[in-house]
């Protein structure tokens, strides 16, 4: 039997033996029909309807709190539900300083939260740190996602202080950030690294702990 004039395989050249691929003649391929006018108008109308429908739904967007606002509200709550060692405040009227290091994702939201509020008698204050600035005067330090790669050295420099570190990036809690925001099904929840908080001399209220995901860090 003669060898068959083929060889299969994914990209075999054997088929060339059957002749030039287009030796059967160049079939006039029917150009595909583009969307016709009517359909196009329908599409535009549909889009317009969706838009109009959306605009008319009252409060479709306006009332829903943003992720930023919810996180800012949590920061205020952390100030209430965490106890700093007594020597952190020289005076019961001393401000409780909330600092943000790295690229501040809060915009004006934090300023609004902090304005005129107190936590356990201490008035709240807000400070944005420039990159190399010391965080010494802060009670709460929010570490933004931009500091991800610098996290280790930052946490090292905070050793021995009793600053509550807060973050919102993947893996921050495992690396030693005390409270880390996570999104679960579009709700703001948080993880707490209890060991890190204890090492810093901070006492987190059991109420806050019970609502958090407790995370084990290293060392």
């Amino acid at each position: 039997m003669a060898l068959p004039m083929h060889l299969v395989g994914r990209r075999n050249g054997g088929n060339k033996a059957l002749g030039e691929p287009r030796a059967w003649g160049s079939f006039p391929v029917r150009e595909s029909r583009p969307i016709d006018r009517g359909a196009r108008t329908l599409l535009a109308l549909l889009a317009g309807l969706l838009l109009a429908g959306l605009s008319s739904i009252p409060g479709a967007q306006a009332q829903a709190p943003s992720e930023r606002q919810v996180k800012a509200a949590f920061l205020y709550n952390f100030a209430k539900f965490v106890e700093w060692p007594p020597d952190r405040f020289a005076d019961p009227q001393d401000p409780l300083v909330l600092c943000v290091t790295g690229e501040d994702p809060f915009g004006t939201v934090l300023d609004g939260i902090v304005l005129g509020k107190t936590a356990n008698g201490h008035p709240l204050a807000l400070r944005r740190l420039r990159r190399e600035q010391e965080a010494r005067g802060c009670q709460i330090l929010f570490v933004s996602a931009s500091e991800r790669k610098r996290l280790r050295p930052l946490l090292e420099s905070l050793k021995g202080t009793s600053i509550l570190t807060v973050g919102e990036s993947d893996g921050f809690a495992q690396q030693g950030v005390m409270i880390n925001f996570i999104l679960e099904e579009n709700r703001v929840h948080f993880e707490i690294n209890v060991d890190a908080a204890e090492r810093a001399g901070l006492k987190i209220s059991s109420r806050l702990l019970s609502l958090a995901k407790v995370v084990r860090g290293e060392r």
Binding site: L7, R33, S66, G112
Partner: protein, 678 residues
């Protein structure tokens, strides 16, 4: 296709105006919102929030990356009704997919040579390479071994700048990140019913334990009859059933998935096997014989260790074992040569490999980062073979093995607080062709937090795969001396975020490909062999506007202009659409519960191998997605989709093994999907 382009541009302009104007809700921020500080902790934890760019953890990733990145989230996958990774890539700026009713092939930046098995894009799942070790194929359609419901997000990274961490990606990297136990808690199932007798079922179980252990297990089964009567004009004759192929477009797969995460360790185990009937009578097979099919099975076990060590060090280690099996059955008629009229030909490839990688990173002075890495892969089996079943006749049996070793170094230097330089160099050594060194450079200027300007250059290679090196058959002489293909790419990208919701991207690129592996006829012997003889120069412009808002109006428009040519020849490129347009639009019909989403892809006409054109087309898909959270329906997610809404008839250019010049795609089809979490 001028009118088509104008149409697309007009629609894009309208959509862009809508997106930029933002719709309602973009101006609010400090409006009358209930004072959240008065709320209890429990209430705060129950508020559903909107995910926007500014708050997204991906913002950092995208603007800092020394490459142009697009991200498609799990939410978008559900909202837009994507059925496969191919559908996901169709929606990405600058990408297009062609389908020949066997596999799906992706084109990037206008380059999509018919017949290529996606060996020029690297497909990763959680950092693990999915391309097999015989064909180097990235599996994008139903052949992709992981259920889309398990995907957390898809990161599409363009150009060879994409990654230094894994063997160079020629045109880009698609990294699929899967969900963790915490993202898919408890028992969940999904059921799908779609056109042409298509059914899919999935059962998953995820759990996060108190000690931090997370597990996710899942199994899926897909079965589609396909179009029971497919007409191919090229076969319209009495001898070949008047061009009608019956019951030959079937498609089915089984998949299992397991992921365990504990402390710094992650273990992945996956296996997927997919069978597809081939109705096109490709490779000269008998028309209308449903026995012609391919079966692809892919599985792997991957163990990853990732850890931050003392203060400034970071470590990543990986160990893996992979397997790939391909089995094709092709029905031939040898009666013209005096043989039987129906012979089954068996075409096989078997690959097994294991390997490991180790990367070490260090931060200096809190702002410079360096990574050093190495990888070793032992392809201890790369076997191919082909034989006729009955009467038995073996054409070739080719066992092979090879090894790959690689090392790279990368530095991320902060020249100023707003100027970063990224330099990388990678050396790969293949036991097949030797060594190759490839650099990459990126200069990133970020004058403002929301602005990023990137100047990128990289060189990448594509190694000749086992198929090109060794597949010997009648009329093909193997060429074990094949060298890798090389591409040099330069790109300028501008990324700008406006407000909280909108992002704008503009880019210009140029690339030069050399030594492309192409099939050539030796004039002396008439034999066909692979040689490094292809050259392609390409360039283009891309533009994209996106508005992201989980609960509100969201969407995007993108446009790509791409050109490519074979230098010093008048030959035009096949399957190159000059214009690509994408439109995505999603609006809530009922606040946070019901969404209507439109997804449209526009391709201008493409040349075919036969010298004709596959006409330009704009195909919209519509999906209604509902996430009822009212007491009665909690836990349910429902969706109804219509694909190719206006039943547009359009086709994709074919490759040499097809008698057809263009393969027409499905008309309007539907899909119903139900998901429930216990």
């Amino acid at each position: 296709m001028r009118s088509g382009m104008r149409r697309a541009l007009r629609t894009s302009a309208l959509a862009m105006a809508v997106l930029l104007s933002g719709g309602p809700g973009s101006a609010q921020d400090q409006k009358s919102v209930p004072d959240l500080t008065e709320m209890s902790l429990e209430k705060l934890m129950d508020i559903e929030v909107d995910t926007v760019y500014g708050a997204s953890r991906y913002l950092q990733k995208v603007t800092e990356a020394p490459a142009s990145v697009s991200i498609v989230t799990a939410e978008e996958i559900q909202k837009y009704g994507y059925r496969s990774l191919a559908d996901v890539l169709r929606s990405v700026r600058g990408f297009y997919v062609t389908y020949d009713r066997n596999y799906s092939y992706v084109g990037v930046r206008g380059f999509a040579r018919p017949g290529d098995y996606n060996s020029r894009i690297l497909l990763l799942v959680d950092g693990h390479r999915v391309n097999d070790n015989v064909f180097d194929q990235a599996f994008l359609g139903t052949e992709f071994p992981i259920d889309l419901d398990l995907i957390e997000r898809v990161e599409v990274i363009r150009g060879p700048n994409s990654s230094l961490y894994v063997a160079s990606a020629f045109l880009g990297v698609v990294n699929v990140v899967t969900k963790r136990g915490r993202d898919s808690k408890g028992l969940s199932f999904s059921g799908e019913l779609a056109s042409y007798g298509t059914y899919k079922g999935r059962l998953s179980y995820g759990k996060r334990f108190a000690n931090g252990l997370e597990t996710l297990f899942s199994a899926s089964n897909y079965d589609s009859q396909g179009q029971q009567r497919l007409y191919f004009k090229e076969f319209d004759s009495p001898a070949t059933h008047h061009g009608i192929a019956e019951n030959a477009d079937y498609d089915g797969y089984h998949q299992i998935f397991a992921k365990v995460f504990y402390r710094d360790f992650t273990v992945h185990a996956i296996y997927g096997s997919r069978e597809k009937g081939i109705p096109t009578a490709s490779f000269g097979t008998v028309f209308n014989d449903p026995a012609t099919r391919t079966v692809d099975a892919r599985g792997y076990l991957d163990l990853q260790y990732e850890r931050e060590l003392a203060s400034q060090w970071a470590l990543l280690g990986r160990l893996y074992y992979d397997q790939y099996d391909y089995h094709g059955t092709y029905v031939y008629d040898y009666s013209q040569e005096g043989g039987p009229s129906r012979v089954l030909n068996s075409d096989d490839a078997h690959g097994k490999w294991w390997g490991g990688e180790l990367n070490l990173g260090r931060t200096f002075r809190k702002k410079h980062h360096f990574v050093v890495g190495s990888e070793y892969r032992d392809n201890f089996q790369q076997d191919q073979g082909n034989f006729d079943v009955n009467p038995f006749l073996q054409y070739f049996a080719d066992p092979h093995d090879s090894r790959i070793g690689a090392a790279f170094v990368q530095g991320d230097i902060a020249l100023r607080s707003d100027l970063f330089l990224n330099l990388g160099l990678r050396y790969d050594h293949y036991s097949t062709f030797g060594g190759t060194t490839n650099p990459r450079v990126a200069l990133i200027y970020r004058p403002f937090e929301k602005t990023s300007l990137k100047l990128l250059y990289a060189r990448a290679f594509r190694p000749p795969n086992a198929y090109e090196l060794y597949n010997a058959g009648y009329a093909t002489v193997p060429n074990p001396g094949l060298q890798p293909e090389i591409v040099n790419t330069g790109e300028l990208v501008l990324e700008q975020y406006l407000g909280k919701y909108v992002s704008l991207t503009a880019s210009a690129f140029r690339y030069r490909m050399r030594s492309l592996i192409s099939l050539r006829t030796d004039p002396a012997s008439g034999a066909l062999t692979y040689e490094n003889t292809g050259h392609v120069n390409g360039k283009g412009l891309e533009f994209e506007v996106r508005r992201k808002s989980s609960w509100g109006l969201e969407g995007g428009v993108s446009y790509s202009l791409q050109e490519a040519e074979i230098p010093n020849s008048g030959q035009p490129l096949i399957n190159l659409p000059r214009h690509l347009g994408k439109l995505k639009f999603s609006a809530p019909l009922v606040k946070r519960k019901l969404f209507a989403s439109l997804d449209l892809e526009y391709l201008s006409r493409r040349r075919t191998l036969g010298g004709n054109f596959a006409g330009g087309h704009a195909v919209p898909n519509l999906t209604l997605f509902s996430r009822p959270s009212a007491a009665g329906l909690k836990g349910w997610e429902l969706s109804a989709s219509l694909y190719n809404l206006f039943n547009t008839r359009y086709g994709d250019p074919t490759s040499e093994e097809h008698r057809e010049d263009v393969i027409f795609q499905d008309g309007r089809t539907y899909r119903f999907k139900v998901q429930y979490r216990f």
